[in-house]
Amino acid sequence: MDLLTFVLRYLSVPTVAILIAGFTYKTLRYALFARVYTPKPEFRWREIAIKKGSFWDIGFWHWIKELLAVFLRPIIWSVRVNIIDFVGGLALLHIIGVIPILFLMCTHVSIWLNYLPYMAIGPINLTPLVELIQKIWYFFCIPVGFGKGVVEVFSTVTAHSGLLGTIWSYLSAIPIVLNGDVLTILAIAAVIYKIIDHIIKVSRGIINIRPGDFVALILLLCILVSGFVALHAPATLPPEMFRTLIGIHVLFAEIFFMTLPFTKFSHFLFGYWYGKIHELYDAYAKRGV
């Protein structure tokens, strides 16, 4: 049994199990520590509503605006005060880098669809909705590199390789700029920027950066680099070697997901959303800020 078979066949289930267990533990803690406070102060949004007539007078759209504001405020602030960090930390790492690579690069899309049983490709009964989701997802698939097919490792990938049937078949000029290769390079640059930034901060006496943060960033870097290397392996490489390269990439990814609930990367699954919704409740609804 080679590494790729091992990580796909034997490690994937424990990975998902540990990931779920970790998040269950975290979420349960929140539930256990949640408190319903009575009495409460008079919330200010009510005052505003009374002043203006009713809740609907301040308007549903007002709430939507405030909801957007809590999400946009840090981004606007970051652009205003530290544009380098905005580009390196937020734009390259999140918006251009990791998120589209993880969810839209065609190789990964196939993996996601494999992992989610109801979306599995094959002659199982797909409900029209799942079929639609699948179609849309494939439509936005990002090719690995311009003019490249997708490496034939997973049978499912082959069926959906290339640019045919995706948005890129209509916008053929874009993949030259926007493809998996470019995105990966940008994401690698962003992770290296973050590591250097952390080193500088530690050297300046900033105390909140922990060894664990470096481990998590290095792990992310390993995933990106191993994926990039695997997809650019020369065609002459023996298939076993190639499978090992992909196996290393998947192994790193699985370690990443196993440790996810305990690293700072967990923010995109829980902390970020909880924080922003709480901010809307505390700062806007309660205090009226």
Binding site: E42, I206, I207, N208, G271
Partner: protein
């Protein structure tokens, strides 16, 4: 060895005692900082010394929390930066916690909605519980809670204040009157540092035809000091006393003139920490004035003064009271500083840093029969923190002076003190720093 273990247990117990304040929101603040650094530039402390930023200010509490309440922290102590509570670590934690003015700007801009100011408050609570808080704050808090602040000299100063108010207003000052519209909770700090603001407020209320009353004695030193010293039970006690007093007088609202901690404490935190409902409305004089101006019920005499407004953190970000643009634009020519409203910079006096200033303490010593100012000479830590707060104030004063205004208006005693002190030190032309009530009293 045995003794060492007992000491550690003692400190650990202090942690468990304050753990009652840890709820799911605090867990979020503790566990979800991603070290993105977005909040750094927002923090007034960071502008003075790059080691102090919101994420680092909250870090010591996180370290203790990991040590006692986090499984990964208990196992992988080094990797997770999980630290035990020891006198040395508490001293280090103080260095950070007392740099925070609880201004709340980091909360406004944090990528994950984390209020590092709240973590600084919890760190202070832990430091206080472990009996390591600065003696000045501890003494003030104890005097306030025990009622021992009511010395003969304080009583005398209060009588003089009432006499002066009577002369200016031209009628008797209503003391302890029932069924009035407003109770003005006058404190020792009010009569020593903000007399004109309180009398100005009384004058404005008279002109607006609103009834009011004041307590027969000052209602505390500047309640609730416990919140800043870290004794949240003491703060809760003071809030309960104030609520009960307002209820006994059957007033429609408590009208806060000095924002300090009093406004957000009574208006928002009170019911949570004191566990009693609010007896009536809690208002700031700023929102009353602005509301009257917005509704066209007040028309101050317009002057040609170029004025600027400093939004006190406790009113704006912690209290949701907006910049009083309507009233100020009616009364003068208003120019706002670069950072205003939600993004206003802190004056450095927050979290009762004001009480660590030597001349403030000298004035308090005169009436409280204490020797608190001596700590400024004796205690290096207090001196350092006081100087640090003044540097923050200088930074804010510069922003306000850059507007070119001749009058700086605000609504908080510590803001006025800190900004005035910085303006006096600055090489720029002298400008006046006043409370909005003091400024508008003669114009309405």
């Amino acid at each position: 060895m045995m003794r060492l273990q007992t000491t550690e247990k003692k400190y650990e117990n202090a942690f468990w005692r304050i753990s009652k304040y840890i709820d799911s929101t605090i867990i979020h603040y503790v566990e979800n900082c991603i070290s993105c650094g977005i909040c750094y530039e927002a923090c007034p402390a960071y502008h003075i010394d790059k080691r102090y930023a919101p994420a680092t200010i909250g870090e010591w509490f996180r370290r203790f929390y990991r040590r006692y309440m986090n499984i990964a922290g208990r196992i992988l102590r080094k990797l997770m930066h999980a630290y035990p509570i020891t006198p040395e670590n508490l001293a280090k934690a103080s260095e950070y916690a007392y740099r925070c003015t609880n201004c709340g700007l980091c909360y406004m801009v944090c990528a994950a909605g984390i209020d590092s100011g709240a973590l600084a408050c919890l760190t202070r609570a832990l430091i206080r519980e472990a009996d390591h808080a600065p003696q000045i704050l501890k003494t003030l808090e104890e005097l306030e809670v025990s009622g021992k602040y009511l010395t003969p000299k304080v009583e005398e100063a209060y009588s003089k204040f009432i006499e002066e108010a009577k002369k200016i207003l031209g009628h008797d000052v209503p003391v302890n009157d029932r069924d009035k519209a407003f109770l003005i909770p006058v404190s020792v700090v009010d009569i020593l540092f903000a007399k004109d603001a309180v009398i100005g407020t009384m004058k404005i209320l008279d002109k607006l035809g609103l009834s009011w009353t004041i307590p027969e004695r000052p209602i505390g030193i500047r309640p609730p000091i416990g919140y800043a010293s870290g004794n949240l039970s003491a703060a809760a006690g003071m809030i309960r006393t104030l609520y009960a007093y307002a209820q006994s007088l059957n007033v429609k609202a408590i009208l806060v003139v000095d924002c300090g901690y009093m406004y957000p404490m009574l208006r928002f935190e009170g019911p949570y920490i004191a566990e009693v409902p609010q007896p009536c409305k809690i208002l700031s004089i700023v929102e009353v004035l602005e509301d009257y101006a917005e509704r066209g019920l007040v028309h101050p005499v317009k002057s040609t003064d170029l004025v600027t407004w400093h939004d006190p953190c406790m009113l704006m970000r912690r209290g949701g009271v907006e910049t009083p643009k309507h009233i100020l634009e009616e009364a003068a020519i208003l120019t706002l500083p670069k950072n205003h409203g939600k993004y206003a910079t802190c004056c450095g006096g927050g979290a009762h840093m004001f009480f660590l200033q030597e001349d403030v303490l000298k004035k308090l010593d005169e009436v409280l029969d204490t020797n608190l100012a001596d700590y400024c000479k004796k205690d290096r830590f207090v001196r350092e923190i006081a100087e640090f707060a003044l540097k923050i104030a200088e930074h804010r004063a510069e922003e306000l002076l850059n507007t070119g205004a001749k009058v700086i208006l605000t609504a908080c005693t510590s803001c006025i003190y800190m900004i005035r002190k910085s303006v006096e030190h600055s090489a720029l032309p002298f400008v006046e720093v006043k409370h909005i009530s003091e400024y508008l009293a003669g114009k309405i």
